[in-house]
């Protein structure tokens, strides 16, 4: 299997860019429909099913409507930033997909084409860098609208996204420790070699990552920037027409990317479970499936049908997480703002920090003892992580942290006051029977 020539590389890269861009845009359009359908099903309705079979053309109708609508421009808005907001929010959401591998390499007569738009060596760092740019779109839109609701939405967005970026980054650090590299292709490969997806040996990191990703994409229960019930429409109150439509598009593109990222980082990417035949990694210029007992590489057997199968596997995993996003959205109500900040800074950040240390120590001791990287290595890490996860869930579970600020203490004073039949004197002031708590 020869290397791609310069021309073949250019052609392949162009085709991949076009295919992935079209694919992502198409999926984003369908996600808007899927969300409405799932919302409807959960509420025992049917949802939009009139435009085309099963309503599949509804996104087209929506897009047409948005193009034909009037583009309002608030008189007091800061025009350039107001226009820049939606763009700045959509573009990072779309470009992050470039470094996610979505199938096993495809052998062609001109050489092997790896199924990733750009296998850049900085991999996950590129994603973290660009996805954190998305907050500027929201903040800029909220600020430039010159509207108090938009302003509050943008303000909350910046605080929330900056806070959860920390926990998100730290949970990725754990993956990096185990994978030993930042490229996503190598992370997939390391999971294939371990025979265990990182969701098991790094279970707590997975939980933290899912929670932070929900916050980063501004999805319920963390949709503070939008918060229809209290902020009208949040940061996009003043937007209309296609400018408005770009915000939901960005949100769904973010959802798609972070679902793909969850699948790649923690569920083996395009790996098909219990089957070594699909494993492939570029090792010193050749595609290998793994190493035999003596440590010499076994060449990978690539085939077009394996590419299709692995793409299917990737699609199934990604759609599972997208469904999880929507399922959670229609189950869990929104957090209060202070609860979000508490969860981010007082729970997720220390947990992630401690977990990074635990994993680092475990990995270091495993390597010192000389356990070879593989299933046993992963199993030991799985047990350590399971313990950490159990402790984390036990602490978080009982409403010690997630209930409101000092809720428990105030409630105790209230009960005490009622039993004694007099006014409660609390550290929060003299508060009648305490019902204002």
């Amino acid at each position: 299997m020869q290397e791609l020539s310069q021309t073949a590389f250019l052609v392949a890269a162009t085709l991949k860019v076009l295919a992935v861009f079209a694919g992502v845009m198409g999926v984003v359009a369908l996600l808007t429909l899927l969300e409405r359908r799932i919302a409807a099903f959960i509420q025992d309705r049917l949802g939009p099913n009139r435009v085309g079979p099963f309503g599949i053309l509804q996104p087209v109708a929506d897009g047409l409507k948005n193009f034909l609508k009037e583009e309002t421009m608030p008189a007091t808005a800061a025009q350039p930033y107001f226009l820049l907001g939606p763009l700045l929010s959509l573009v990072p959401a779309l470009v992050t997909f470039a470094v996610i591998p979505f199938a096993s390499p495809l052998p062609t007569p001109w050489g092997v084409v790896d199924m990733i738009v750009a296998d850049v060596p900085i991999g996950i760092l590129y994603i973290l860098a660009l996805s954190s740019l998305a907050v500027y779109g929201v903040v800029m839109g909220g600020w430039a609208s010159n509207n108090k609701y938009s302003f509050l939405g943008g303000l909350r967005a910046s605080a929330q996204m900056v806070s959860y970026e920390v926990a998100l980054g730290l949970s990725v650090v754990v993956v990096l420790i185990v994978a030993g590299n930042v490229t996503l292709t190598e992370m997939v490969w390391r999971q294939q070699q371990m025979g265990l997806w990182f969701a098991f040996p790094l279970s707590l990191a997975f939980i933290l990552f899912v929670i932070s990703a929900f916050a980063e994409t501004n999805r319920l229960p963390f949709d503070m920037p939008e918060a229809e019930s209290e902020l009208v429409g949040g940061f996009h109150t003043e937007y209309s027409g296609m400018k408005y439509a770009m915000y939901p598009m960005a949100e769904y593109a973010h959802m798609l990317t972070s679902s793909a990222l969850m699948a790649t980082l923690f569920f083996g990417g395009w790996d098909i479970p219990f089957w070594r035949g699909d494993d492939a990694f570029r090792h010193e210029g050749i595609w290998i499936q793994g190493f035999d007992g003596e440590g010499s590489p076994v060449p990978a057997v690539l085939a077009w049908w394996k590419t299709i199968l692995t793409f299917g596997s990737f699609a199934v995993k990604t759609s599972f997480f997208i469904l999880l996003y929507m399922w959670v959205r229609w189950t869990v109500p929104r957090f209060r703002y202070d609860q979000i900040m508490q969860l981010g800074w007082k729970v997720l950040l220390p947990t992630a920090l401690a977990y990074v240390m635990v994993v680092a120590v475990t990995v270091l001791s495993l390597d010192t003892v000389g356990v070879p990287y593989g299933f046993v290595w992963g199993a030991i890490l799985t047990m350590v992580s399971a313990l950490c996860t159990a402790v984390f869930l036990w602490v978080v579970d009982r409403g010690r942290i997630l209930s409101g600020a000092a809720y428990g203490l105030r409630e105790r004073y209230r009960i005490q006051a009622r039993t004694l039949g007099r006014e409660a004197v609390t550290p929060f002031g003299v508060g009648g029977s305490g019902t204002t708590a």
């Binding site: 309705r45 049917l46 399922w327 579970d397 009982r398 409403g399 428990g408 409630e411």
Partner: protein
């Protein structure tokens, strides 16, 4: 405390399992997600089954020879709480009273059905019908001809299965 008040003790936050509660919620929404019994009625193809007591668009009963049954007694405009019936009575050569003008403004009507209840000759009725959308507002004032043209079933103002009604 009155004897019939049930006091529900709210569990203390420290004793509530938040994860279990969330998972229960997720299970509930999932059951609804896969539940095939949806409440949506696919309107133009499917129609809701209306109660025989449904009070909708009015209709005027007619005699076999095509005259309206109305005798222009004036009870329905009197009883109408929304004041939506306009009636001008007349008398023919034999001394029979008949409505010269009989108009119902369906916009003002509150569909209480009192016109049907009060009518001594069972002429005006509210009907088991709801599809009365129009393109202009003036089309909502039904004149006598239009009321006589209506062919939907008339409403029962009582429940035939309930002996205490009527």
């Amino acid at each position: 405390m009155p004897p019939k008040v049930k006091v529900v003790r709210r569990p203390e936050p420290e004793r509530t399992s938040y994860l279990r509660a969330t998972l229960k919620g997720m299970a509930l929404t999932f059951r609804h997600l896969v539940n095939p019994n949806k409440v949506t009625i696919q309107y133009p193809e499917e129609r809701p089954v209306l109660s025989p007591r449904w009070r909708g668009t009015h209709r005027m009963e007619v005699h076999a020879d095509g005259r309206p049954k109305c005798v222009a007694c004036g009870l329905c405009p009197t009883v109408c709480p929304a004041n939506c019936i306009r009636l001008v009575g007349g008398e023919d050569d034999q001394g029979n009273r008949y409505p010269v003008v009989y108009e119902i403004d369906e916009f003002r009507c509150i569909f209480c059905g009192m016109c049907q209840e009060v009518c001594p000759v069972e002429a005006i009725h509210v009907g088991v019908d709801y599809e009365n959308a129009e393109y202009t507002r003036d089309r909502f004032v039904y004149d006598l001809d239009r009321l006589m043209e209506q062919d939907h079933p008339t409403a029962l103002l009582w429940d035939p299965s309930d002996p205490r009604s009527e």
